[in-house]
Symmetry: D2
Subunit: 411 residues, 4 copies
Amino acid sequence: MSELEKGMRRLKWAESHMPVLGEIRKRFKKEKPLKGLKVGMALHVEAKTGILAIALAEAGAHVRLASCNPLSTDDSVALALKEGYGLEVYAKKGETQDEYYGNLNKVLDMSPDLIIDDGADLIAILHTSRTDLLKNVRGANEETTTGVVRLRALAADGKLKFPVIAVNDAKMKFLFDNRYGTGQSTFDGWMNATNLLVAGKKMVVAGYGWCGKGIAMRAKGLGASVIVTEVDPIRAIEARLDGFEVMRMIDAVKVADAVLTVTGCKEIISEEHLKVMKNGCILGNAGHFDNEIDKKVLDSMSESKEKVRESVEEYRLKDKRKVYLIAEGRLMNLAAGQGHPVEIMDMSFATQALAMEHLANNWKDMDKKVHTVSEEMDAEIARIKLMTMGVQIDELTEEQVKYMSGWEEGT
Amino acid sequence: MSELEKGMRRLKWAESHMPVLGEIRKRFKKEKPLKGLKVGMALHVEAKTGILAIALAEAGAHVRLASCNPLSTDDSVALALKEGYGLEVYAKKGETQDEYYGNLNKVLDMSPDLIIDDGADLIAILHTSRTDLLKNVRGANEETTTGVVRLRALAADGKLKFPVIAVNDAKMKFLFDNRYGTGQSTFDGWMNATNLLVAGKKMVVAGYGWCGKGIAMRAKGLGASVIVTEVDPIRAIEARLDGFEVMRMIDAVKVADAVLTVTGCKEIISEEHLKVMKNGCILGNAGHFDNEIDKKVLDSMSESKEKVRESVEEYRLKDKRKVYLIAEGRLMNLAAGQGHPVEIMDMSFATQALAMEHLANNWKDMDKKVHTVSEEMDAEIARIKLMTMGVQIDELTEEQVKYMSGWEEGT
Amino acid sequence: MSELEKGMRRLKWAESHMPVLGEIRKRFKKEKPLKGLKVGMALHVEAKTGILAIALAEAGAHVRLASCNPLSTDDSVALALKEGYGLEVYAKKGETQDEYYGNLNKVLDMSPDLIIDDGADLIAILHTSRTDLLKNVRGANEETTTGVVRLRALAADGKLKFPVIAVNDAKMKFLFDNRYGTGQSTFDGWMNATNLLVAGKKMVVAGYGWCGKGIAMRAKGLGASVIVTEVDPIRAIEARLDGFEVMRMIDAVKVADAVLTVTGCKEIISEEHLKVMKNGCILGNAGHFDNEIDKKVLDSMSESKEKVRESVEEYRLKDKRKVYLIAEGRLMNLAAGQGHPVEIMDMSFATQALAMEHLANNWKDMDKKVHTVSEEMDAEIARIKLMTMGVQIDELTEEQVKYMSGWEEGT
Amino acid sequence: MSELEKGMRRLKWAESHMPVLGEIRKRFKKEKPLKGLKVGMALHVEAKTGILAIALAEAGAHVRLASCNPLSTDDSVALALKEGYGLEVYAKKGETQDEYYGNLNKVLDMSPDLIIDDGADLIAILHTSRTDLLKNVRGANEETTTGVVRLRALAADGKLKFPVIAVNDAKMKFLFDNRYGTGQSTFDGWMNATNLLVAGKKMVVAGYGWCGKGIAMRAKGLGASVIVTEVDPIRAIEARLDGFEVMRMIDAVKVADAVLTVTGCKEIISEEHLKVMKNGCILGNAGHFDNEIDKKVLDSMSESKEKVRESVEEYRLKDKRKVYLIAEGRLMNLAAGQGHPVEIMDMSFATQALAMEHLANNWKDMDKKVHTVSEEMDAEIARIKLMTMGVQIDELTEEQVKYMSGWEEGT
């Protein structure tokens, strides 16, 4: 099968399992809510993202797409989007730092009206080296926790120059994408990269936010003995009562068969941890940036490194211990796997699509800060999702609605 | 063993497993933050509650205690609190409606300065038949979701006459008490009441809030095949992705071996459901009030009913089907079991204790509305809890703190 | 409710949830397969056992019943069997060693034709102090692993004087009773005895046979962090791949919040373990005999002990550590809980009933050794169980049957 | 990375995670137990198998290797075994039926002394078209349930011409390989083939033997709502008590989002099922042969089919429903994934290695039937496995050993 054909099939397959976005696309094709607008996107360039890009084009937008991560592009899909759908795509798997930023800048060269970002690199460039383009930008969506954290910091500094919708913070996104999406796709990456058993492994999950909860839940579901590390005491207690061991990383690495980081913070695995790490430990990251595991320190402590599988490097430390790193410490679910399951991205990207439409319609009235998605938008997507799953649920009776808003009735 | 001795032992046992409240009690004994204040309490009168009442007395308060539910009192503990600790307790297991309200009024007769309520019956009386006492009330804590919902409705009507702290909404409360507490204690009630197997049963859990999540999780953990009913589409999708069946109650009751309600709403099991319910179905409730299963309708549809176990009644419907009801549809975890595990109530009541102190110190400056617990209070309790569990966690380095509040660093 | 009434209700309730034995009883009442035979039974005297005793009486037998454990009798049921059903019962909760053996001997005084034993104490007496009665005994059923192990040893010594059917080894018994029965009822005992949280506890399960697997599975299902100890390397690997920690007991007790023994062997918790045990550790046993936790050593190491709950004793060790023992180290699921769930015992006791009938019909042709239950008997009980659950399963087509017994068809 | 390099790395990686076989190889290299013997192998030709082949060569054997399945070869590994290790390998991914049998015959052309088979195709050829070679064959190992069933049938027909060791029936094989191996690798195949979400899917698992148990357990662990189909009533009850729905396939396919077959029988999904199957259902097989899903009927009911992903075909039925088939109905864990995790095959192939040695030493004294692996061999492998995991377990004291073999000590 040719690369193009492979990519086309992956797109078609994704499309046929994205019914929520599908319902929205039907309307977008008719109503053209993005007519004449230029949309610059930086997302993981793979099949599900492709369907979102197509949806925006169908809504009337002129779309340019780059990757938000140097390792996460599915080249067959990039090709298919270009040759099969005529979209402007600037991305390849395995970009150098220069190529990566070059591609982001090509997206910006179109002087976009609207932005979809994932991790906030595109928006950060706009606020630093490409400030000339700011005046044309009406608003942006941000896909992920890390990006939202960065943009809240930017807004807190008083420097954010257009309204941003935190798509990540929609219930229909973070409850599902961050938890069930990351949970499954991290082990897609794991299995693909290592072909190693999960059952019986002592697996350390760093971070017990929604993503960490998802990974820990799936690690347990696959038979691992899970250890959680946290800095938040409440989450730590939650992890403990969920049946996991909780300890400091410095203690965890001594017994760890594997460490998976997903904190959104940097230097989670640093020199002090590497010094006492169990021989043979496998390191992977599912957080947005590749700075959770300190690769510089790992390099400096090693006498050699070698690629031992397509997505695994073996570091031989000077004291003869070995440490394995999956996908250069980049998002292992995308760099070593196929990313989140299609049905998950269907919900996330349905949110992206409606948020884009909202920005196009309302940007003038929106403050230059980080906005959350409205309850109505969340509910609308949930309603479509339930319908496409064929699930029926109860509705409150009038009597019950009244009861829930009263205070008189008691024991 | 005499009732008194039994009650004393239950109190001692609870005390020895409530180290978080224990730390706070050490300080309270010294600092006497409630000195000279009258505290009127309506909580489930059992061992853990007893320790909270003792803690408040140690803090200098004059305490009166009634039950917040006619079936949830542990008589041995009530006796021990009276005879062993000299507290004023007005409660017994199996109160009539008159006795129940009589006891609440006895608590109010002291003209309390501060209130601890659970379900808001005490506060509702204050705002209706005992309005004369309102002027003396400085504030109140509310323990449970149902009470908070009622009080928010009261405040929305503009009628709430003193500040209320929604102890229920503290993370250290709802994340643990509502989920792990309700999850375990509901099955304490189940096993005690029925001696029936959970594994292999089709168990319907009505409501997928924190309590429902806890019950569904434990039902699954004990081997049941779980069906969830919900009115909220997002929670419904969550339940489905957690591996549970989701359907309308009218469909669920046709296949249900058991239905456990925990919605905080009324008439969850009503006539239409009873008409098509599977023969032999067992009904239980873990929500605050006994109106989730419509007992009036159940009575009217039955030709007879009989107590077939200490906490189970068999209803013989006119069409010869049988339906079993646990603990008269009242909170089965307390009415048929021993209530939440001690360690859970340690966290919840540590929050109660600190919230009481906060009210005593700050009531004058607090609006007459429903307040949430501060992040600091949550964090303080979490810190003590971790310490008493002997669990150590990581702390952010200065570098990491800076990184988390910056936006410049990207790919 | 009077004790008699309570017992009668418990029996009725059990009866209504034992449909498999119910089907067999219908036939027994007509066919009277045990007509004129004296059946001596030693089982845990509680409601489910009561229904078995009634079934045997209905089959025409003259029945005497004692308890197989000094702490496991439900006095209300014993009373109801005597006064409500006219059965000869010699049992009470909390027998001394003398009373216990006295009651077993009263059962034997009838010179039984058939025996149902649980743990093999009755059969051991017959082979030592009551050998005069041996000539009249046609055969026996043995209920539990421990009894089967003892009787195999007796047979291996060439001393077994009548055929024994190892009811325990029937698939319809050990796959369900030992695993799901013990799993649930142990936590019935735990909750009832302690009211302590399972979630987040480090719980050591000693033994990973069917019973241990059941307990570990339920401990995990209730949120514990489980450690397994084993002497069998294959089971140890199984436990590890099931996601549990595996270590030596001497290491496990240092971190254990609780230790539950279910090995069928003695001195699982001995002096060396008690010496290094974590302060506050809770000990419970679900194995047949009360010798898994060495109580003599525990006594000798303690400066005092006190009953701190109805079924918990606190041992104050001389070095000031405390250790808690549930139900005197006897079967905690029966001594502190209500024993296995009714539906489980329905399957086990259906096997007992059919095995009794088999002995009555075939004892003359059976060797004086330990026999297993036939595949046909297992299948018959399974068929009835599925039918009473309303579950339909597939059947092999003729074509498939042929395929499964051929070797020619390949890739 | 070149194909050869990729294959070499996969072999090295496998080797470094196969310490149990590693220990055996150390001895084999010294003792050369297979010196001068010709070993013909038909196994899935991928990295772990490669290490077994190398181990046998190191033991002195002359090895030829073909694949036991037309779709399961990892071409990069086949290349590496040939070019990097000089082994004779006859296998490629995607063999036609003719190529497949051609390759098996090439293995036989060497006139092997010993055979390792997987599914019994090689042995079936020897007993039909290549009977001339039988006289030279000393014995064979069989790897999988399906092969063992076929060979037992062959032996029952009195036609088996040499002793066979059922490696599959070793505890260290079926308890781990069939359960945890199949469980994980089936979802490696699922994720790789479909990129679809497991959570929330209604997944039917056909067959609840060890493999089916493994798949059902992992489906649940990944969030699916699992339905089991069975023909054995006892296993059906087990599945139900494990929390799964149990029903007939004809009922299950109406609600199934996916059906995974792993029965070892044929026509599990046949015309009657396809007629009522839910639109969009995904079919996969993890049983040995590709006859569990009836492809002929599927073809005849379809108006077209198309490859929609690398390992998924879409069948468009004449009534417009769609059905998806993974990997042509062949073993999806190997044809669409990388096969069992390395550590699992380490245990299975350690058993293969010791069983080969056993045959080489004892073939003359072994009956021409299907033999099981000795307890000692199982225990030896378990011992090495525990050692390489760094897990220590308890040992029985002398006192305990004596107790376990006695019958005198009772209550």
